[in-house]
């Protein structure tokens, strides 16, 4: 059944024009979500949301956008049909980043100020569980099979592996200083964690939980303090990962087998998060300091356009 769905989905993806998509960007300092038309690469509109929007994710049916509005201690629900906030979810205090569980029913939210991960039931709009983690939880990831949720804690320098069913801590792995994002490989075998202060990504084997590799990012002409690894995105085929390098104003393309950095893309200032288009041919970065997003054409290996979206772009999501 799942195979059939996957097959049908892939047909659907292949048959759609690459550009029929919409990019959503959270503007941390404007309290808006910018809506950018993927075909024309131009700003369509902005949606007013709560205060300090950062983490975002689509619902599994892609009809709604969840936006963590940290200063209002909640998650706003945007109806993508009418592009308005139509509901709110509780989140625990100061939600920064969260993931939608593949079951479509639950959110796992990092509460940065309370050293907690909150589990939110979407339908009942209730917090149904909390998990104690390290100091300043930040990055969140969920494995494709839904078994594990990973959460990084910035001051503790750990990634916490959470059983998504029992809400219990399965393991706590030491990573480099001030970890930011976490990402599972599509096959779930690897867990990647970025470190802001050391400019690295640490790769773990999810089963043995041993560290299997480390990527040290370097940008010619920039001191190591200026090279910081933040947001990450894995290609669907698992062969390539993209890592935003913050104040180095670059996005790195990494070969996931060799862990070699294939190339660096010069984007806007201080990219926070990156996202791949559905056809995997384009990458978009949200650039916090220059107030824009950069479109990278991955086939031609070039940055093709930057589009001003507002003040403090942070999260970026691509939907239909």
């Amino acid at each position: 059944m799942q195979v059939v769905i996957a097959f049908l989905l892939s047909l659907f993806i292949l048959s759609r024009p690459a550009t029929a998509e919409t990019i959503y960007v959270s503007n941390e300092q404007d309290n808006t979500v910018a809506v950018v038309d993927g075909a024309s690469m131009s700003l369509s509109t902005t949606i007013d949301v709560g205060r300090r929007p950062r983490g975002m994710a689509l619902s599994v049916d892609k009809k709604r956008l969840f936006v963590a509005v940290g200063d209002d201690n909640r998650i706003d629900v945007v109806d993508l049909g009418n592009r308005q906030v139509t509901g709110q979810l509780p989140s625990g205090t100061d939600p920064e980043f969260f993931v939608v569980h593949p079951d479509g029913k639950r959110l796992f939210v990092a509460n940065e100020n309370d050293n907690l991960v909150s589990v939110v039931d979407i339908e009942s709009a209730k917090v149904i569980g909390t998990i104690d983690v390290g100091v300043e939880p930040e990055g969140m990831a969920v494995s494709a099979d839904g078994r594990y949720v990973a959460c990084t804690s910035e001051t503790t320098s750990m990634v916490h592996l959470i059983d998504a069913g029992t809400f219990e801590l399965v393991d706590n792995l030491l990573v480099d200083t001030r970890p930011r994002a976490a990402a599972f490989s599509p096959d779930g075998k690897q867990l990647w964690v970025s470190s802001e202060i050391r400019g690295t990504v640490t790769v773990f084997d999810t089963t043995s939980r041993a560290e299997t590799g480390k990527i040290q990012f370097e940008v010619p002409g920039i001191r190591r303090e200026g090279v910081q690894a933040v947001g990450m995105e894995m290609a669907r085929d698992g062969a390539t990962a993209y890592v935003a390098l913050g104040p180095a104003n670059r996005v790195a393309e990494v070969d996931t087998k060799t862990l070699a950095v294939r190339r660096l893309y010069l984007v806007g200032q201080r990219p926070w998060h990156v996202v791949l288009s559905d056809d995997q041919k384009r990458l978009v970065s949200a650039n916090g300091n220059s107030g824009d997003i950069s479109f990278i054409d991955l086939e031609n290996e070039e940055v093709v356009k930057s589009v001003p979206v507002g003040r403090g772009p942070w999260g970026v999501v691509i939907g239909p």
Partner: protein
């Protein structure tokens, strides 16, 4: 060996608390200080700054420590006015304490690092801003987490020059600390291309604005004291906070005030909430019931440095930690946007200098365009080539 080590580590990590945790005791030596009378009703009276920062550092170290089987403890000693630190140090040494946060004035700190038991210890200066401690009086057993006066002056100067407020009126208080700050500001002006148009001591007796008609007196005194030729910015050196706060809004010419009051350059400010600092400030306020000061922050940096080294080494061995702190690999996350490290030539922690207004953060130095062959952070303070420190 490496495999065996990682298996042991995995076991440790997988079962927090199952193995007996190792303990490291960090010493703290402070001094009883008479808190200055608050200038205004919004000022918070503080009697435990520094100590509260060290305490928060211990709690933060424990966050990682509990997963690694490392336990951090603080042993605090507070000296009475005039008391020498020797006895406290001997008793800390007898407990096997290897790391000490020295929340001490320069004279007491110099006594501390020269104490007989101090040789095998490592001190973190979290209070004394004196450049001499990083220069001719530098020590092998001494690191500095509080920025020096020259770092503060350089950070401020870069911002003022970036603003093109290059013509300064320097107004200097009567105390030796004010003279030292003024010297650092004069050096910074020369380094970064500002010009000191007027250089003047503050000669008035500090008046109290809290008296019934205090503002009337100040309204007449300060225009007279600031009656000079034209300038861009009044730069004030008043570390004791005796008169600087009265200047803004009362100067003869309508000009901004910067320095120890007005636009203040310091290692930390309660108004900083960038770079994730909100979480640190919130944690601190929950613990201490007040704002975090620059001395709290410096003490926090000291304790966190020990914790970060212990985390990276997965060891509490003092010799290994000491070596790692001074190595090129050490980088601490300090909520100022980039990793912090110790300068090998004088033990000073490299760090951005915050430029803060009374309610909001204004900027952070180094400013764009001030370049350096090693790191822009080394544009602040005494650089390797000009250092008089011989370790």
């Amino acid at each position: 060996m490496k495999l065996a080590l990682s298996i042991v580590l995995l076991l440790l990590v997988a079962a927090p608390g199952s193995a007996a945790p190792q303990t490291i005791v960090v010493g703290y030596i402070g001094q009883t200080r008479t808190p200055p009378l608050p200038l205004g009703p919004l000022d918070q009276p503080v009697s435990d700054d520094g100590l509260q920062g060290a305490r928060l550092g211990i709690a933060d170290d424990g966050g990682t420590g509990r997963f690694l089987g490392q336990h951090f403890e603080l042993d605090q000693r507070v000296l009475k006015p005039g008391e020498a630190p020797t006895v406290a140090i001997a008793s800390l040494a007898a407990r096997g304490v290897a790391f000490v946060v020295a929340d001490l004035d320069a004279a007491t700190l110099s006594q501390a690092v020269a104490a007989p038991a101090a040789d095998k210890m490592l001190f973190f200066n979290s209070r004394a801003r004196d450049d001499a401690l990083r220069q001719q009086d530098c020590r092998k057993n001494l690191l500095h987490t509080v920025p020096s006066r020259s770092m503060l002056a350089d950070g401020l100067a870069q911002y003022l020059v970036w603003k093109r407020w290059q013509r300064w009126f320097l107004l200097v208080g009567p105390h030796p600390a004010d003279q030292a700050m003024a010297a650092a500001l004069r050096r910074a002006a020369t380094r970064f291309g500002a010009e000191i148009i007027v250089d003047k001591p503050w000669t008035f007796r500090p008046a109290s604005g809290r008296a019934d008609t205090g503002h009337v007196t100040l309204q007449t005194e300060i225009p007279a004291a600031t009656q000079v030729g034209d300038y861009d910015v009044l730069v004030v050196a008043d570390e004791a906070d005796e008169f600087g706060a009265y200047l803004e809004g009362r100067t003869a010419l309508p000009r901004p005030v910067a320095g120890t009051q007005g636009l203040v350059a310091d290692g930390w400010s309660a108004v900083n909430e960038e770079w994730g600092a909100t979480q640190l400030q919130d944690r601190f306020r929950k613990q201490a019931g007040r704002w975090m000061t620059a001395y709290d922050y410096a003490a926090w940096l000291a304790v966190r440095s020990i914790g970060e080294a212990a985390t990276r080494l997965r060891s509490l061995d003092p010799a290994a930690i000491t070596a790692y702190l001074r190595s090129d690999d050490f980088l601490l996350a300090g909520f100022k946007g980039q990793g912090l490290s110790f300068r090998p030539w004088d033990g000073q922690m490299r760090q951005p200098i915050l430029i803060a207004g009374p309610r909001l953060l204004v900027s952070s130095s180094p400013q764009p365009g001030f370049l350096h062959q090693r790191t822009p952070l080394d544009t602040l303070g005494i650089d390797l080539e000009e250092s008089a420190c011989r370790l």
